[in-house]
């Protein structure tokens, strides 16, 4: 049970937690945050590995993830605003008109 394994396990747990959050939380913003959590989990493992390997690639990817995550949020927030504008609610369960 050394450090690396634990960190990896932690990252996996964070990743799963994020996904779980998307499943169980109904608040749109919270869901977004949970996605961020997933990405953070991934980052953790990336950093761990890149540090283990002493190789920059992982770090670079982490950097990219930062960028992407930022962009996604920047894009997601307005969409959420748009949603809210219609039903005065963040409850995602209210937004299930598309089905069947």
């Amino acid at each position: 049970m050394d450090r690396v394994t634990l960190l990896l396990w932690l990252s996996g747990a964070l990743f799963s937690l994020g996904l779980l959050g998307v499943i169980v939380r109904r608040n749109a913003l919270v869901m977004l945050m949970c996605m961020e959590l997933m990405l953070n989990g991934v980052n953790l493992s990336l950093v761990t590995f890149s540090q283990q390997r002493g190789d920059a690639a992982g770090a670079v990817l982490v950097f990219l993830v930062f960028v992407v995550a930022t962009a996604e949020i920047a894009l997601a927030i307005p969409i959420v605003l748009l949603l809210v504008r219609f039903k005065r609610s963040m409850d995602i369960d209210r937004y299930s008109d598309l089905k069947g």
């Binding site: 690396v4 169980v24 950093v47 770090a59 992407v68 920047a74 748009l82």
Partner: protein, 159 residues
């Protein structure tokens, strides 16, 4: 530190108030940043704190405050997939955990190389990963356009 990160992450799912959720997330992130620091990749830690906590979460918090949408009282904070979700979650954690624990990859047992410095990183970034650097810029441009478009749309929908 990892423990704290984990706990606060778990808390995210339990707390009702979006604001507090955000705070929990921030905690997690900071903790992670701390871990990165301990690992020795300080600049990543810095980025973590700057970009995430500094930019993203601030933005998030701002938005939360902006639209003070009170959830209609009485409706729970959980979707009806709580139970299956949690079970699946447990399974997933288990699976991932096992795949890590039972793995025979040398990297896990390796002592771990000396942490590389910011200069190494940036030089690598600008030489070996120059393409990515370029692409990132392109990507950002696209992202901005997209964001603008969405905002424009929402404005149109508004007016």
């Amino acid at each position: 530190m990892g423990v704290i990160a984990l706990i606060s992450a778990a808390l995210m799912l339990v707390i009702r108030e979006p604001m507090r959720v955000a705070l929990a997330l921030i905690t997690t992130m900071v903790m992670l940043g701390g871990i990165y620091g301990l690992l020795g990749v300080h600049f990543i830690a810095a980025f973590q704190v700057l970009i995430y906590v500094g930019a993203v979460m601030v933005f998030m918090v701002y938005v939360i405050m902006l639209l003070e949408v009170r959830e209609a009282p009485g409706n729970t904070r959980y979707s009806r997939f709580l139970v299956p979700g949690v079970t699946a979650f447990a399974a997933l954690v288990g699976v991932l955990g096992i795949s890590v624990f039972r793995s025979t990859a040398d990297v896990l047992s390796a002592p771990g190389a000396p942490a590389f410095s910011l200069t190494q990183f940036s030089s690598a970034f600008l030489s070996q990963y120059w393409l990515e650097f370029e692409l990132t810029s392109v990507f950002l441009v696209a992202a901005i356009v997209a964001a603008l478009a969405v905002i424009k749309v929402s404005r149109r929908a508004h007016g």
